[in-house]
Symmetry: C2
Subunit: 516 residues, 2 copies
């Protein structure tokens, strides 16, 4: 399978159909393919060789999608950089991947002066923005105009399609190697699960560098649908685009669903075209989901669970299980079509249904490994099974319930305490807006349960209130021993996950344990 | 990917759900898996090694499906034998494949005395029928009872999943080698195209040895649905099973749709559960299709085009194009999701839209090759593209229109004449029930157009009537030069295709050309 094959199919089935809509611009699939073949010609003209990495650092745009196709068309591999990273982290990603060409948009061109001195392998920077071209950059559009279209390099199968860095908050961020087969296999699964077809109008509202949005990127093209793109998530921009382009599908992370549901703006737009919304990448509070379902009654909600290492979909929970109070609503759903899922113990043996263990996945979607990290690769992949690092159990009908990240579980006095369960108890206190539960060092118990809490506007609660509240909800050994209040929102990742490693690190200074 | 993975998924998602319904028997997916693991243990006990071929010669049954899973579970490869073959042809298939074990049912046990002396590699025969066990056979059920369940051999990916013989009317029948990846890739495509899910109840009405029915076999399991099975196609049996089991999906070849539509029996049964019917494997007369659509209004019809070498689906035409008089209704549809389709000239270059050339396909579904036939494999597979031997063109929206089999095209006086087009003209004569157009040797033109015609009951027409009728419909050079009348039905293959090679052979005796 080939990434570019999804594009060829879109042109074959829907050449005159709309490929991309972005701000004032729109183009057909035939026009899109022509631009891709020219951009690929330009990259080859710069000396880009088969398998070489070409990076991008940009907000969402139609050019981001052209990049996703031009790079494999030229036979090279993508490296879409996390836009939330600080300059030294960006430099690490570019250097570690050995990227030789970098595309930047208007927003990130501003970082070039600070970034340039730290780059070891980048030979060319292409400015893919609309403002004035910074010094020392090539211009994206004149680049396309000047280059002739080249034939597809026809690179595919097990070949590297791209490096996708995860973590990203420390220098030890890992470059996940995904092949063409990995990404197209995921696309086949997602088309089946989401029902994408030629009439689908998908909105890229989450960041395009992230696998949560990318779960649909190649799938929508494969189905010959239309990509509508907002530069970044914004309530009014998103609602306006849904109304204007009659968007039918999108992916939102829970924080975005929350912003939308609590905006009070949905009623001001016509969102009746929306058929299906996929959400995932971090846990979704049920109240937020139910509020969104109520405000957008035409939308069938579906949950996807996965990770970059799985290209990304592992399980999905279809709309038929999205009923208020439904028994499966708290689950992450069942194994995606071509993906095998098993709950394994630490020996790699499958556990009985209902027992908590590590969620493992096998299938054509599982990564080649981590770039230049053999030990980490061997740890993540045993006998073809991806070990996700997530703890969960499976019920008798194959539904997977996630209980915690393995590294977020607190082990206190020999008992396993799932941070997510404790957080659920704390969240049920009316004054709490945000919280995170972590393990901190304890001389007697090994670790102690510690809660970091942000109160809502006007909310009041003391440490003892939180502890007393929890005592009514969960077993004594799970109740936080200490509570820390913060006035600022907790630090989150690009996917909206709370960065518990940052919360843990001050407590574990001088020890490597538990920080990441 | 693994064939057995589709079974593991069915057990995981729907262990207590019904796996198979056959005559008086039904079993859950968990029971089915247990029997499969025992049968696999029995095969291993017989000395079956990884990759070894295990054949079956049987009408449809639940045991046929158990066979499809037990053989890969044991690490071996299947060889489902065409039930329409004569004894010497069966022997050829078994010997050529090197099958070491053969399963037979009641119907085919009768052939054993004639067959046995001709078999060179079969060491054991297992009787999988319900009658009394023939001498020298092992008994299927006591075999399962006596064997312990073994662990899945975990053979998959590019490994041989089975040999599937095509042609089959001469000793030169070819064993198509399909891998696990081939068959599961097709299953993923078919689930997406047909919308199979846990609630699907699929009826095996066509022969289970044939890839037309097998297109859905692994797909229905992957979706964790239910298999309902009739021993062989019979109008009342099929309608009765639809009513009794609330069948939702099936595959019928056009001759079966014709028998059903013209039976006058549909109204006597409740067929309201039927949601979707896939048809394919040979051309469907539009009048038959429209009649079936009218009589079964709940059914969404879909066409699949493919061949054994493509595991089998290449293109499909969805229900949305099944409208009377629809412009696309005569097409075979568009490339299936993960399959690339191109129309190529004899140099292997892609042709312009609208030009007739060979239909070629590329994707994870394309066979490994022909068993022990390197030259034929090289002819069928160039640069990863399967050359189907079918001639057709593609329109601007990617719809493929098949004009003829390459070998059925008549070349007369340098003109290409598509036999299917001439047959269409002849079929429009009211007295004609069946016809086939072939090329026969002609000293002046190379080949001459020759028609073989069967008249309907009470129908009357002379050679000149047919020729005059054609002259009004098609260009002069396409009109048959000679017409031959037959009183018996024309010879057909297992998939209901007229065997033109048999019609041609008397004319081309002494020449290898054109017979096959």
């Amino acid at each position: 399978m080939f990434i570019t094959q999804t594009l060829r199919r879109a042109v074959q089935l829907n050449g005159a159909g709309v490929a991309t809509v972005f701000e004032g611009r729109r183009q057909t699939w035939r026009e899109f393919e022509n631009r891709v073949a020219r951009l690929a010609g330009g990259l080859i003209g710069l000396g880009v060789k088969a398998g070489e990495r070409v990076a991008i650092l940009s907000l969402n745009s139609d050019r981001y999608l052209e990049y996703f196709y031009a790079v494999p068309w030229a036979g090279a591999a993508v490296n879409p950089v996390n836009i939330r990273l600080a300059v030294p982290e960006i430099a690490y990603t570019l250097n570690d991947s050995g990227s030789t060409v970098l595309l930047v948009d208007d927003t990130f061109a501003a970082l070039l002066p600070a970034l340039r001195d730290q780059l070891k392998t980048v030979r060319h920077v292409i400015f893919a923005g609309d403002g004035s071209k910074p010094e020392g950059c090539l211009d994206y559009e004149s680049f396309i105009e000047a280059s002739g279209p080249v034939a597809d390099a026809n690179v595919g199968g097990d070949e590297l399609a791209g490096l996708f860095y995860t973590g990203g908050t420390t220098g030890r961020s890992k470059g996940v190697m995904l092949s063409h087969d990995n990404l197209v296999f995921n696309a086949l699964n997602v088309v089946a699960e989401m029902g994408y077809d030629r009439d689908s109008v998908y909105m890229h509202a989450g960041p395009m560098f992230h696998l949560a949005d990318m779960a649909s990127t190649f799938a929508v093209t494969l189905a010959a649908g239309t990509h509508c793109i907002v530069p970044k998530f914004d309530v009014d921009a998103v609602l306006g685009l849904i109304q204007q382009e009659k968007v039918t599908n999108t992916l939102l992370v829970p924080t975005m669903v929350n912003l939308l549901a609590s905006s009070g703006r949905i009623g001001d737009f016509d969102v009746g075209s929306m058929k299906r919304m996929l959400y995932g990448a971090s846990p979704m509070p049920e109240a937020v989901l139910l509020s969104a379902m109520e405000q957008m009654p035409t939308v069938a909600f579906a949950q996807g669970y996965g990770q970059t290492e799985a290209s990304p979909i592992i399980t999905s929970l279809g709309p038929e299980f999205h009923v208020p109070g439904g028994a499966k609503l708290r689950s992450a759903g069942r194994a995606a079509l071509g993906v095998e899922v098993a709950i394994m113990d630490t020996n790699g043996d499958e556990l009985e249904r209902g027992s908590v263990g590590q969620i493992c996945a096998r299938g054509g979607n599982v990564m080649l490994g981590y770039w230049g990290m053999e030990a980490e690769t061997a740890e993540a992949l045993h006998r073809g099974w991806l070990h996700t690092g997530d703890l969960g159990y499976m019920d008798d009908e194959g539904f997977v319930f996630i209980v915690d990240r393995a590294k977020d579980m607190v082990i206190s006095g020999g008992e396993n305490i799932f941070s997510v369960e404790v957080e659920g108890a704390i969240y049920s206190h009316p004054a709490v807006q945000e919280c995170a539960v972590i393990g901190i060092p304890d001389d007697r118990w090994g670790e102690a349960v510690h809660a970091v809490v942000v109160l809502g506007e006007g909310g009041e609660a003391a440490e003892s209130d939180i502890i007393d509240h929890c005592r009514e909800k969960i077993a004594g050994y799970k109740v936080p021993r200490s509570v820390e209040f913060r006035s600022e929102p907790l630090p989150i990742s690009g996917a909206g996950k709370i960065l518990k490693n940052e919360l843990r690190s001050p407590y574990w200074e001088g020890s490597q344990k538990k920080v990441n």
